[in-house]
């Protein structure tokens, strides 16, 4: 029974992917991409990796879809022409070659068993019960630290696109939400629920699927709705408070990591302190991730000229 479900799911995934890439209109392609993202999240659920399913749905389908939609609108505003999909034999052969080889090798070569056992043994010392969070925030904390810095670097790259004279202007697209309208009403209703869900996700991350990134994405979504509805003033790149929010997460992570030096090793979380240290890091990290993701979606500062 379950294999049939997986078959249908995989078929759906492939169809959605083909429609997203080969689809006629840009808007249609983006919509199919979001649908594709959801099916991939489902696939992760089927594989039993709930943390990743959450991340894929929230970030892979959600935020990326939002960015794509924003880009489609901007391209349309800029009047960039669309043109039909081109077939191409050589690229097709190359792509099929790589994919075929990868699939063939992945199936033929016996797996080396991965680090399931090592992670299991080290879990009690890691200070958290969820093995994924243990890997993310303890065993491979250095990766996650660099990853949070990557988000900041991406934001700097996006802000670099602003023209010189626009630097003082607030970020984000031109707003045309009707004051007192449905969007504003919604923007008042949703945030409390969103914040509860987000915080729960971060807190639950220690023992069940969840974590800083997934929680941060939900909080970012909440922030976006409030900002797009005009309830919250759109931030400006040179505003001190927003920059502190951006820098808080990585800074705490760095300082906690450095403090490990005194305890005998870089990025060392001694077992009995680990849970407390990881949670403090996670709280600040979530704050920064939410701020960075929201600002990434809002984009570089743009003048308030109406379309």
């Amino acid at each position: 029974m379950t294999v049939l479900f997986d078959l249908v799911l995989c078929a759906l995934m492939l169809l959605a992917a083909l429609a997203a890439i080969g689809g006629r209109g840009l808007f249609r392609a983006t919509v199919f991409f979001v649908a594709y993202g959801i099916t991939v999240a489902l696939a992760w659920v089927r594989l039993g990796a709930i943390d990743v399913a959450l991340a894929e749905a929230a970030i892979g389908a959600g935020l990326t879809g939002l960015l794509l939609l924003g880009a489609v609108a901007r391209l349309r505003r800029a009047g960039a022409p669309e043109f039909p999909v081109r077939a191409g034999l050589v690229p097709a052969l190359a792509a099929a070659g790589v994919a075929g080889a990868t699939g063939w090798v992945a199936l033929r070569v016996p797996g080396a068993g991965g680090l399931w056992t090592e992670a299991g043994e080290a879990l009690p010392l890691s200070g958290v019960e969820n093995p994924v969070t243990a890997v993310l925030l303890n065993f491979r904390a250095w990766d996650t630290l660099l990853e949070s810095i990557v988000l900041l670097a991406a934001l700097l790259a996006v802000w670099a696109l602003a023209r010189e004279e626009e630097w003082e202007a607030p970020v984000g697209p031109p707003l045309h939400a009707r004051p007192g309208g449905v969007l504003e009403g919604m923007a008042r209703l949703l945030p409390p629920v969103g914040i509860v869900v987000g915080v729960f996700l971060v807190w639950a991350g220690a023992s069940q699927p969840g974590g800083a990134f997934q929680g941060g994405t939900v909080l970012a979504a909440v922030g976006l709705i409030a900002a797009l509805a005009g309830l919250v003033a759109l931030p400006r790149p040179d505003s001190g408070s927003w920059r502190t929010a951006l820098a808080a997460g990585p800074a705490v992570f760095l300082l906690v990591g450095a403090s490990g030096l005194a305890l005998g090793g870089l990025l060392l979380f001694p077992p009995d302190w680990a849970k407390a240290m990881i949670l403090t890091v996670e709280v600040f990290l979530t704050l920064s991730i939410a701020a960075t993701l929201a600002l990434l979606v809002l984009g570089p500062p743009q003048p308030r000229r109406m379309p």
Partner: protein, 486 residues
């Protein structure tokens, strides 16, 4: 213990400094200066510790190889850390005057610190996925700097750079997935211990990905517009340091992680691509009208030099003294290229500030108006051409001698031809500088001109005092690089 503290300063310092620069706004450059001083001190401590006790290994979080991430500062890594600090310091000195507007200042200083931090992280990391994240951070900061460029093509160059980089990192990641599936670990030394059927395909994919990131010949289309479009102090960083990260990763993969997964034919293909880069880069540089474009194509060519060593170090010559010479020569060549290329780009930065354009026609006669920076440009060009006295020459000599000893003289002649080509495309700007009537020049403080001169002299000094550089490379070098059998 002090080694680990020094490494911590070099890894966490730049990242903290970047956050500091973001918050400090106007005082961004001062925060950067503090970080650079700390970084320089840390490199000296590492260098000394390295020579005394061999490579410094750090098990992050105390977890050790399979589960956690291991960092190792061996001779090669410390050499690049030192080169990075020197180049960053020089770029800091010149960039202080350049990025006046709030937008440029608030993006350049944090990004440059992040770039430096990412480079340090990549040089010392022994974990494949950690290398991926470091490489991605390096690329995004580099894209940010290219996007800062004021010229018309800057946005297009940044876009092409990001597209190439995206696909490069994904292809590399595909290789990493296959390695994890085959070996069950991501640590270089543990991968070297085991064998897996997926090694060949994994290495092929990782090499393709890194070749795109290092702008090796067929995948170099993104580099010239990006490095010419970026503001000059930034292109000094981009050309001198960024492609070296991909190259070091390739060297570690091919010769430390999977030495015998590479058939001799593949080694020859890498060197052939390098030769193609030397030829194509050189010929294209001959046809450019703007100085920064010449320097950008020169980077494409000089990167080709680094790949000529592959068939000499691996394959038949593996483990012989010749292989160790070729390896050491190439690394010294990489260090001196970093110093010299940074020097010539910083000269371009000063000249663009002084006369507003880098077209060869407008540069005519600059030797009279700005003698110091023109002399620096000449010195650095000498090193890039591989003429004595310079690090470039020592590198060319060592690799050529190794190629003759190992019975593959063809690759040595490629280097010789490359040197001639470099002389050809550097001659045009040099002759232009020497023309008679100096252009109208906006006053540049003499101290600023001394910065590229210091870098050029460092590149030349690498030619005279190359023994310490050689000893550093040998300390902690993996077996294949010490002339001892694998």
């Amino acid at each position: 213990m002090t080694g680990e503290v020094a490494l911590a300063v070099l890894l966490l310092g730049p990242l903290l400094a970047a956050l500091g620069c973001l918050l400090a706004g106007r005082q961004g450059s001062t925060v950067a200066l503090l970080a650079l001083i700390a970084g320089a001190a840390a490199v000296v401590v590492l260098w000394d510790g390295m020579l005394r006790t061999g490579p410094i290994e750090v098990r992050l979080g105390g977890w050790g190889a399979p589960l956690g991430i291991v960092l190792r500062a061996d001779g090669l890594a410390v050499g690049f850390l030192a080169a990075a600090v020197v180049v960053m310091g020089a770029v800091w000195a010149v960039a202080r005057h350049d990025f006046a507007t709030p937008r440029a200042r608030d993006v350049f200083w944090p990004s440059s610190m992040l770039l430096w931090g990412a480079l340090n992280a990549i040089m010392v990391s022994r974990d494949l996925f950690n290398l991926y994240v470091g490489l991605e951070l390096l690329t995004l900061t580099a894209v940010a700097m290219v996007a800062l460029g004021r010229g018309p093509g800057a946005i297009e160059a940044a876009l092409r750079y990001v597209l190439y980089a995206l696909m490069g990192s994904l292809v590399y990641l595909l290789g990493v997935v296959l390695v994890y599936h085959g070996h069950g670990t991501l640590d270089l030394d543990r991968i070297a211990a085991g064998r897996s059927g997926a090694d060949a395909l994994a290495l092929g994919l990782m090499t393709a990905g890194l070749a795109i990131k290092t702008a090796l010949f067929p995948f170099h289309a993104w580099l010239p517009p990006a490095h010419a479009g970026a503001p000059s102090p930034a292109s000094a960083l981009l050309s001198a340091l960024v492609p070296k990260a991909g190259f070091v990763m390739l060297v570690r993969l091919w010769f430390e992680a999977m030495p015998d997964a590479t058939p001799p034919a593949a080694l020859a293909v890498m060197a052939a691509l390098g030769a193609g880069a030397i030829l194509h880069g050189g010929l294209m540089a001959l046809r450019q009208e703007r100085l920064k474009q010449i320097l950008a194509y020169s980077t494409v060519a000089q990167l080709g030099y680094l790949f000529v060593m592959f068939p000499l170090v691996g394959g038949a010559g593996a483990g012989t003294a010749g292989a160790a010479e070729a390896w050491a020569g190439t690394q010294i060549g990489a260090f001196s290229h970093a110093l010299a290329k940074a020097a010539v780009f910083l000269c371009a930065a000063l000249w663009i500030r002084a006369i507003g354009s880098d077209r060869l026609a407008d540069l005519a006669g600059l030797a009279r108006a700005m003698p110091l920076s023109c002399f620096a440009f000449g010195m650095a060009a000498v090193s890039l051409m591989g003429l004595p006295p310079s690090g470039g020459f020592i590198a060319k000599y060592l690799v050529m001698r190794a190629s003759f000893e190992l019975g593959l003289p063809g690759w040595g002649l490629v280097l010789a031809a490359g040197g001639l080509l470099a002389a050809a495309y550097f001659y045009r700007p040099l002759a232009a500088l020497f023309a008679r009537e100096p252009p109208r020049v906006q006053r540049t403080p003499r101290l600023l001109e001394a910065v590229p001169l210091a870098l050029a002299l460092a590149a030349a000094a690498l030619g005279v005092l190359s023994q310490p550089a050689y000893d550093l490379l040998q300390a902690g070098a993996p077996a294949y690089a010490r002339g001892i059998g694998p």
